[in-house]
């Protein structure tokens, strides 16, 4: 599941970066929010995508932006909390 999740998130985040004119390479361990490449409004889009695709309720898992700060972190969060949808 992990590779699939990473691949989808990579594509999704690449799309958001492109919309901002950020064409720099994207690695799975690159910091997304701490580096300023994405902002809190992008975080909301990611939250919604993760909630819908993986059934995670962020209100239940103590939402913290650092848990979405890289593709690795997002994949880790999904692996820990995903439920069948």
């Amino acid at each position: 599941m992990s590779n699939d999740v990473r691949s989808r998130m990579r594509g999704y985040i690449r799309q958001r970066l492109d919309m901002k004119g950020d064409t720099n390479p994207l690695r799975d361990d690159d910091l997304l929010f701490s580096s300023g490449r994405l902002d809190s409004l992008d975080a909301i889009e990611i939250v919604m995508t993760v909630e819908i695709d993986h059934g995670i309720n962020f209100a239940d898992i103590n939402f913290d932006l650092t848990r979405l700060d890289s593709i690795d972190a997002i994949a880790d969060l999904i692996e820990r909390h995903a439920v069948s949808v």
Binding site: S34, S40, L41, M48, E51, I52, A59, T66
Partner: protein, 468 residues
């Protein structure tokens, strides 16, 4: 701007002691040129080069500068309430000192207990709980039973707490975590020495730790970025000064407030001049916030924290939400962190658009309004509660329009700009964003509480060519 932070030779120089001394000296000179307090480079340099003692330097430097600034206590408000209540013989300095101790004690107690309190429903949303508590104390102070000394004490407490309220909100968010930072450390970044407004620049200890330079190379890059930012701010200041001279002195365009006051007095400037004053006001406002916000961020970077810019290319924004994000980043973050996320995570989870719109509304309208009402709480003591609330009407309308605009902007599906060409993809959307915020400003000018929403509406119609 030359990319000095990417030049290996300059980076290497910035890691030597002579290079560091030169960098700090140039930074101090630029601060002095900007009319800012150049002495802040001393604690910033101490913090940057203190290595593992950095987190001891920050609270110490902050405490020192707070002592010099009188802890930002609004002593005028305290004196006014004492006078209104006919209380003589209270030494304002001792009262302020007592209140500082009371506020520190209250903040410490709350931070220590918050790990337990957060399990109780009323405490789960720190910003709401703090705002409600603050406004509740103000209402208590205004009741007849609080007349006299209780009223003075309550207002003094509020006047002392106010500068730290949103820092406390961030700290409480941290305190709910499984391993929160030490309370002393959390208090040490309440109004950190590199500067802040009521809005925390650098949010909290955890946030700062994420942006902390971890080694000499990162520190050198961060400090060179600080220097680069400060040079940019000097250029912006020159632009602001030139703009004011050309627009007001050479072209005779009035300040926006003057154009508005003349309209109310029945001696309106021409519409062209009014439009020009509105556009000029927008440009001056963007330049001003870039300057003072940039100075704070540059000082934090000199201290070794890679904070993101407060204002970043706002005129490139092609949507309202993008402008909001780029114009005053840390204030937008405050509203997002304390109002947007809590609403977004709790309500309308199954209705994607409604959920987004409602959360945007909670932040940009309710949070925004609450923030400014609390910021201007002194007006309640000066004008009375009913007049202060009535004076908020225009700002309430402003936040309503802003939230609606931002909410709709959020919901629009964005397509890549490159697909639409320069005119449709860039120029026209940018112009639309600027016009929206110019129009909005009519309802949120600095004369905020003095003029009614009706008067502002009439001026707005005048601008549109309708004479009322």
């Amino acid at each position: 701007m030359p990319a000095i932070d990417q030049d290996p030779a300059i980076r290497a120089l910035a890691q030597t002691w002579p290079g560091r001394a030169l960098l700090v000296a140039v930074f101090a000179a630029l601060l002095a040129l900007l009319g800012s307090n150049a002495l802040v480079v001393l604690p910033a340099a101490a913090c940057a080069y203190a290595g593992r003692y950095r987190w001891q330097v920050i609270p110490a430097a902050t405490l020192l500068l707070l002592c010099l600034a009188g802890f930002f206590v609004d002593t005028e408000l305290m004196a006014r309430v004492a006078s209104q209540e006919g209380i003589a013989g209270v030494d304002q300095r001792w009262l302020a000192a007592g209140m500082i101790v009371a506020v520190i004690t209250a903040c410490t107690g709350l931070l220590k207990a918050y790990g337990h309190l957060v399990k109780l429903t009323p405490f789960r949303w720190p910003a709401l709980f703090l705002s409600a508590g603050f406004v509740g104390l103000m209402l208590l102070a205004e009741t007849p039973i609080a007349a006299g000394m209780p009223r003075l004490l309550l207002w003094s407490f509020l006047a002392t707490l106010l500068p730290y309220l949103w820092f406390l909100a961030y700290a409480l968010n941290e305190a709910a975590a499984t391993s929160p930072p030490a309370v002393g450390l959390q208090l040490g970044v309440f109004h950190p020495f590199w500067g802040s407004t009521l809005t925390p620049f650098g949010k909290s200890v955890s946030y700062l730790r994420k942006f902390e330079a971890r080694n000499a190379e990162e520190l050198a890059v961060t400090q060179l970025k600080a220097l680069k930012l400060l040079v940019w701010i000097v250029l912006l200041l020159a632009c602001l000064s030139a703009l004011k001279t050309v627009v007001h002195t050479n072209l005779g365009v009035p300040e926006f407030d003057q154009a508005f006051l003349n309209f109310l007095a029945g001696a309106s400037y021409s519409r062209v001049l009014c439009y020009a004053s509105l556009l000029d006001n927008f440009a001056e406002d963007v330049l001003s916030i870039s300057i003072w916000g940039g100075i704070i961020v540059a000082c934090a970077r000199l201290a070794g924290f890679r904070l993101l810019r407060n204002t970043y290319r706002p005129l490139q924004a092609t949507t309202l939400i993008e402008f909001w994000n780029r114009y005053y980043f840390y204030y937008k973050e405050l509203l997002v962190d304390h109002f947007f996320y809590p609403t977004f995570l709790r309500y309308f989870r199954t209705h994607r658009k409604l959920r987004m719109f409602f959360a945007t509304f909670a932040a940009a309208c309710l949070g925004n309004l609450l923030f400014h009402f609390i910021r201007d709480i002194r007006l309640v003591a000066e004008m009375g509660l009913s007049k202060a609330l009535a004076g908020e009407a225009s700002h309430a309308f402003y936040t309503l329009l802003l939230a609606t605009g931002l909410g709709l902007s959020q919901l629009r599906t964005r397509t890549a700009r490159t697909q639409q060409g320069w005119l449709r993809g860039r120029a026209l959307p940018c112009a639309g964003v600027i016009l929206f915020f110019c129009a909005l400003h009519v309802f949120d000018a600095p004369l905020d509480r003095e003029h009614s929403i009706l008067q502002r509406g009439q001026f707005f119609l005048y601008l549109l060519g309708v004479n009322t």
